[in-house]
Amino acid sequence: MDDLIAARSQMALSMAFHIIFACIGMVMPFFMATSHYKYLKTNDYHQKALTKAWSRGVAIFFVTGAVSGTMLSFELGLLWPEFMLHAGPIFGMPFSLEGTAFFIEAIALGFYLYGWDRFNKWFHWFTGVVVGLSGLASGILVVSANGWMNSPTGFDYVDGKYINIDPIAALFNDAWFTQALHMSLAAFAATGFAVAGIHALMLINGKNKVFHWKAFRIAIVYGGIAALLQPISGDISAKDIAVRQPAKLAAMEAHFETSKSAPLLIGGIPDVEKKEVNYGIKIPGALSFLAHGDFEKEVIGLDQFPEDEQPPVMITHFAFQIMVGLGMIMMVLSILYFFSTWKKKYWQEKRWFLWLFVLATPIGFMAVEAGWTVTELGRQPWIIYGFMKTKDALTPIPGIQISFMIFTAVYVSLSVIVSFLLYRQIKSLPNMEGEQPAENQSSTQH
C-alpha cells in the first residue's frame, strides 16, 4: 500500500465513520423533540421515558461524532496540506459558519441533557429543537464544502495561483443545493430506519410493547417520508451531475462510450479492460432520459476523458447500484407502512411485518456510505475537480500506512464500544408495562 492509497483510505475511513454519527446527531434530536412534545402535551409517561432513553443514546453518539469530527478538521491538513493551503480560504466559509452551528449545538445540548426539571419546560424542549436545527445546519454547511470540491467556483486560477477569491460564491457553488437536499433526506431516512428497526426487534421480543410502538411510529414516520422523497432528490442530483461532472455519471453507469439514446444499466459487471459490461440489464434510452430528460439526447461517456482523468469505474458503479437498490427497498417499505396504517392496521401485529423492518435496520446507513463512495470516488483523480489532483495534495511525510493502521484500530474499537453501550442501554430499559407510575419513577437510572 503506498502513501497515497493509505491516505485516501484513512480519509475514507474517517469520513465513513463520522457520517454515521453526524446523521444521528442531525436527526435524533428531532425524534427526541417529537416524543418530548407528545409528553408535554399528553403527560404520557412512556413518551417521557422514550425521550430520556433516546437522549442518553444521543449523548453517546454526540461525543463520538464530536471527537471524530475534531479529528477530521486536523486530518484535512495532516493528509492533504497542499489542498488546504489553497482551498482553505476559498471553501472556508462553510466551515467558519459551521463552527457557530456546532457551538450552538453543543451549548443547546448542555441545556437539554442536564436541564430536566430545571428550566421552564417549553424552554427546555426548545433547546432540544435547537440541537436538531443547528446539527442540520452544520451538516448542510459541510456538504456545501464538499460540493465546492465537486464544482469549484469563487476564484480565478491564474498561473497556478488561486486569486480573486470570493468565499460566498464558493459557498453557493453549483452542487451545494442538490447535495445538501439529498444528504439531509438521507440522514432522516437512514436514522429513521435504523431506529425503527431496533424498536421493531424489541417488539418482536415482546417486552414493553406500548413503549416500543410509540418509538417505532415516530422513527418510521420521519424515515418513511424521507425515503419517499429520496429517489426524487436523487434524480435531481443525477441530472445535475450530467452537466457538472459527466465523468462521474459515466463511471456510475459504466458508460464507456459516448452515445445518443444511452441505455440505463441495471446491475452488471463492468469489464474495464474491454470497456464493456457483462450480465447487466439495459433499458434503452433511459439514461439519456435520466440525465437530460430526453430519450434521444447524447450522454458523454468515459471515452471523452483522457485515461488519467477517469474515475475508477468498478467501485463507483457498484456503489451506485447499491445506493439505488437500497433506496428502492426503503421506498417500498415506507409505502407498506403508510398503507398498513391507512387500511390494514392488523398487519402491524404480524411478525413478518416487524421482521421486514428489523432486516432493514442497517440499509439506510449502507446507502449513505454507498452514496458517498459514489460522490468521492466519482470525483477522482481530482481533489478539486478540474484544478488539483489528489496525488498532488498528498502530505510529504512518509509512513501514512502506520497512521492508517492506528486510526483503523481506533475506529474499530470505538465502534465496538458504542454498539456495546447501546446494547446495554436497551437491555436495561425497565419494565414499563401496566399502570402509569407516579411522577419521577419513570426516569430510569441516569
Binding site: V67, E82, T100
Partner: protein
C-alpha cells in the same frame, strides 16, 4: 478585519487553555487523589464540567478553523512538520472525550468502568502534554521546511528539551486550574482538606515547571531567557503572574471560590499573554528565519473579511448563550 480575526484566534486559544485545560486537569487531579475518594471526585467532576464539557472543546475547533481559513500557510506548516505530535494529541482527545461520556452513560456499572477510568486519566495527561509540545515546537525554531532527512523534518522539529518542558508546564497548568476549580465545588470538609494540599502541590509544580522551561531554553540554546529579561512588558506579565500565584496560595485556605478561580484564570492569562506578547506577531519560528507571522501568512481580501464577519456574528449568538449555560450550572450544578 485581520485584527478582528487575530483577536478571535487569541481568544479561542486562551479559552481552550482555560476551560479545556480545567477539563483536562480534572483527569490529572483524579490521578493524584487517593483511591478512596476518587469516586467522589468523579461525581463532582461530572456534575460541574458535564454540561459545559462539549462547549469547552469547541474552542479548539474554532482555533483550527481560523487557522486554515485565515492563515493556511501556518496550518499546513503545522500539519506537515508536527504531524506526529498532532496525531498523538488527537488520540488523546478521542480517548478522553469518549471515555468521559462512556463511563457515565454505560447502563451497567461493572469492570468496564476501570477501563474507562484508565483511558480517561491517562489521556487527560497525554493531550495537554502534546498540546504543550506543539506550542513549544512552534516557537523553538527547529521547524525546517528544507530538512534533508526524515528525522530532522518530522521528529527533530518537536523532540527536544524545550518543547518537552513546555509540555510538562502545560500539564501542570491544567492540573492546577482543575484543582482550583474543583475545590470550589467540594462541600465535604474532609475532602476539601485532602484537596487543598494537592492544589498547593500543583501550584508549586506549575511554578517549578515554568522555571524549567527557561532552563530548557538555555540548554537548547534558545535566546528566550535573555530576550525575556530585556522585554519589560512581557517580563512584568510574568512577574505579576508569579505574584498572583502567591496570593492564590493564601486564598486557597479560606477557599473563596470565585476569587480563587478568577486569580487562577488571570494568572494563566498573564502567562499566555506574556509569551504571546513576546512572540507576536510571529506564529511559527522557522529554522531558516523565514518565520510565519500572523501578518505575512494571512489570507487577504474577501476570505479574511468574511471570516471576520462570520466570527463576529457567530459570537453574538454564542457568547450570551454560553454565559447563560455556565451561569445556570454554576448556580446549581447538574444533579445526577
Amino acid at each position: 478585519m485581520l485584527y478582528v480575526v487575530i483577536v478571535f484566534l487569541c481568544l479561542a486559544i486562551l479559552m481552550y487553555l482555560l476551560l479545556g485545560g480545567a477539563d483536562f486537569g480534572a483527569g490529572i487531579v483524579e490521578l493524584i487523589t487517593p483511591r478512596a475518594v476518587r469516586e467522589k471526585v468523579r461525581t463532582i467532576t461530572y456534575s460541574t464540567i458535564g454540561p459545559i464539557w462539549e462547549a469547552n472543546h469547541m474552542w479548539l475547533i474554532i482555533a483550527i478553523v481560523i487557522l486554515f481559513v485565515g492563515f493556511p500557510p501556518i496550518y499546513t506548516m503545522l500539519s506537515v512538520h508536527l504531524h506526529i505530535p498532532l496525531v498523538l494529541m488527537l488520540l488523546g482527545i478521542i480517548g478522553r472525550g469518549t471515555a468521559f461520556i462512556f463511563r457515565h452513560y454505560d447502563a451497567v456499572k461493572d469492570d468496564m468502568q476501570r477501563v474507562y477510568n484508565l483511558i480517561f486519566t491517562y489521556s487527560s495527561f497525554i493531550t495537554p502534554f502534546f498540546l504543550g509540545v506543539i506550542a513549544g515546537a512552534m516557537v523553538s525554531g527547529q521547524i525546517d521546511p528544507n530538512a534533508p532527512d526524515f528525522y530532522s523534518a518530522y521528529i527533530g522539529s518537536w523532540l527536544h528539551l524545550f518543547s518537552i518542558s513546555v509540555g510538562i508546564f502545560t500539564v501542570a497548568i491544567c492540573g492546577f486550574l482543575a484543582a482550583v476549580f474543583l475545590i470550589g465545588e467540594v462541600e465535604d470538609e474532609a475532602i476539601k482538606a485532602l484537596f487543598i494540599p494537592r492544589a498547593k502541590v500543583l501550584t508549586f509544580l506549575t511554578f517549578i515547571s515554568g522555571g524549567f522551561v527557561f532552563l530548557a531554553a538555555e540548554i537548547d540554546g534558545l535566546s528566550l531567557t535573555k530576550e525575556k529579561f530585556t522585554d519589560w512588558v512581557s517580563l512584568s506579565f510574568l512577574i505579576l503572574a508569579t505574584i498572583c500565584l502567591f496570593v492564590l496560595w493564601k486564598y486557597l485556605r479560606t477557599g473563596h471560590k470565585t476569587i480563587c478561580r478568577l486569580l487562577a484564570g488571570f494568572q494563566i492569562t498573564l502567562i499566555l499573554g506574556s509569551f504571546g506578547y513576546h512572540y507576536f506577531p510571529n506564529f511559527i519560528i522557522v529554522k531558516s528565519g523565514e518565520n510565519l507571522s500572523l501578518f505575512n501568512s494571512g489570507a487577504m481580501g474577501l476570505p479574511i473579511e468574511t471570516l471576520g464577519w462570520a466570527l463576529l456574528l457567530g459570537s453574538l449568538l454564542i457568547l450570551p448563550s454560553l454565559f447563560y449555560l455556565i451561569y445556570s450550572f454554576q448556580r446549581r450544578p447538574a444533579e445526577l
